[in-house]
Amino acid sequence: MRKFIFAFLLITCSVSAQDNEKYKLINASDKFGISSIDILDSYLSPLVYTGVGFRYEHAESKFLLSDNDRFIATGKWFALAGMTLNPQYTGTMTYLGVAYSWGVHYRLPDIYGFRLYGGANVDARYAMKTNDRNVNNPYNMDMATNLNLSGIVQYDIATRKRLMRLNYRIETPVLGSMFVPENGASYYEMFDVGIVKNAFLFSSLHNKTGVSSELSIDIPFKHSEWTFGLGSSNLKYKANNLLFRQNTVFLNVGVKYDLYIFSGMKNRAPANFRNAGL
């Protein structure tokens, strides 16, 4: 079983592993979670749809440079699948979304034992929303790229048995581009006839705002390190006379590891192997 898990992790991390430098460990995490979802997609309906979803997140972090411990690069895959209902439970909207982000954090000077990181990332997001009752035009896409500002605060809590770590992450989009259908235009017009000239738009704080945050705690056990998180994300954007909103509140459970020492706790990394700690 352990071999199987190790092989799985090798495959999922192979892209990053290929450029893994000699002294830089890749910290990885896999998190699964359940989430409440509120969706307002005024292209599909003026009503707010609410429901639940399942989320998965795979992140990998490592020092960006061999000789500098201040810059940490992080790549993250994210997926969310949800089912929502309108307020009268007469219509359903399904949500399927994936995203990838890559960014760099800079470690700021510690304050009162808090480790602070500030940084930015770029992401690419794609999601499909389907309103099952809409006979002729049931879909709408969320498609966007964003430049996000982000911050991380960490605090270590030492107990008699273990050293636990509190993490708080926050992120907000500041610039980007997004796909928003023209109000009143059908997908047939956009993608069969090919009229999409007004559907790809510049986004910034004037038409898109949001914040996602998560408070989590990492607890090391004998052979693994587990993480438990509570978070939320709120996103609003407006374009082409259409308003979109998506709010989620989620609970995450996951495991953190790095590839080098995963084969066993006895096989610890030598001192010259440096751990980014995110």
Binding site: L40, S42, L44, S45, P46, L47, N86, P87, Q88, Y89, T90, G91, L108, P109, I111, L116, N131, R133, N134, V135, N136, N137, L149, G151, V153, I170, T172, E182, N183, G184, A185, S186, Y188, E189, D192, V193, I195, L205, N207, T209, G210, V211, S213, N234, L235, K236, Y237, K238, N241, L243, R245
Partner: protein
């Protein structure tokens, strides 16, 4: 530094509330009436074309809305209001009923008799069927006949290649789309592409760009591509009646421009507006025409397409087991 971080977090939260949410009317009969009326007022595409005074409709129907009406009475009233649009693409969906307007075909001759169609003279019992296409030889093998009754039944290039090869020795082909109420408009494009030799502009489409009744985007050309490998270059007759609607209407609009095609039968039922949907606070969904489609001469197609050869089914023919429209097509293709 601590304060900067705090400012950053607070500003993120404040910014998310800067974009205002839309106002949603309350879930009462009056609120739902206003929501439904406004959706049509701002999004329906044929109010001016059909000379409908929607403000007047508001006055008339608002006076009839009563908070004491039960859901059935209120649904019927809203269905009647939508009926003023005289549009088969307009429906109100609840969890107990669906309003509809059917006079686009019930006020006209049916021009279709399935008993005759499946008699031995035409399809018979041993017809072949694939991808929703029911096909057989008729007129002693001289003509290939296809009945296609639903543009929701998908077919592939392989299906069509086989069908057209099957009829390769025929003088002509009949595609009967009577009683075909529509489906996927992309299939209308696909089916018509087998009958073009060049990519051809066969129509135009636009959409509402604002709340005003005349706020439309500039019409964009809709091309029917000629299929690269499968092309039927002999005569083809398209049979229509009033129940040829929506995507079928779009198919007929395209086939009007096909080089060897002729439209025979009755005027199509129309349905030239591509529908979108919305919802009102009580959870009912409304479907409505949102994107008007035009023919190659920039004429609306909402009220239907006239055939090249007008032919109704006659009682005398029907009594003798003949379908007058198919017979007319056979005569035309054998000229």
């Amino acid at each position: 530094m601590k304060y900067r971080l705090l400012y950053f977090i607070i500003s993120c939260m404040v910014l998310t509330s800067c974009i205002e949410d839309p106002e949603i009317p309350v879930n009462t009969n009056a609120g739902n009436f206003e929501a439904l009326w406004k959706i049509i007022d701002t999004k329906y595409c044929y109010l001016d074309y059909k000379h409908i005074n929607w403000d007047s409709v508001h006055t008339v129907y608002k006076a009839r809305v009563d908070s004491g009406m039960d859901k059935y009475e209120f649904f019927d009233l809203m269905g009647a209001m939508l009926g003023e649009l005289k549009d088969g693409h307009v429906n109100l969906y609840s969890d107990f009923d669906r309003s509809r307007y059917w006079k686009w075909f019930t006020d006209y001759p049916s021009n279709f008799n399935s008993n005759i169609l499946y008699s031995d003279r035409y399809l018979g019992e041993n017809y072949r069927v694939v991808g929703g296409m029911r096909y057989n030889f008729i007129d002693n093998g001289r003509i290939g006949y296809i009945y296609y009754g639903d543009f929701s039944d998908t077919f592939t290039d392989v299906n069509m290649s086989n069908i057209l090869s099957y009829f390769s020795n025929c003088r002509g082909l009949i595609i009967d789309v009577r009683n075909n109420g529509g489906g996927y408009i992309s299939l209308a494009e696909q089916l018509s592409s087998y009958f073009f030799t060049n990519d051809t502009i066969t129509g135009y489409i636009s959409h509402k760009t604002g709340d005003g009744h005349t706020d439309f985007s500039a019409p964009e050309a809709v091309k029917t591509p000629a299929h690269e490998k499968i092309q039927w270059q002999r005569p083809v007759a398209i049979l229509t009646n009033r129940m040829s609607y929506s995507a079928t209407n779009s198919f007929v609009v395209r086939m009007k421009m096909a080089p060897n095609a002729v439209i025979i039968g009755d005027k199509t039922g129309g349905g030239g507006g591509l529908p979108l949907s919305s919802e009102i606070p009580n959870g009912w969904m409304v479907r409505f025409s949102a994107c008007p489609m035009y023919d190659a001469d920039m004429q609306h197609t909402e009220w239907g397409i006239d055939p090249d050869i007008k032919q109704d089914m006659t009682t005398a023919d029907a009594n003798n087991g003949y379908d007058s429209i198919i017979e007319k097509a056979i005569f035309y293709l054998n000229r």
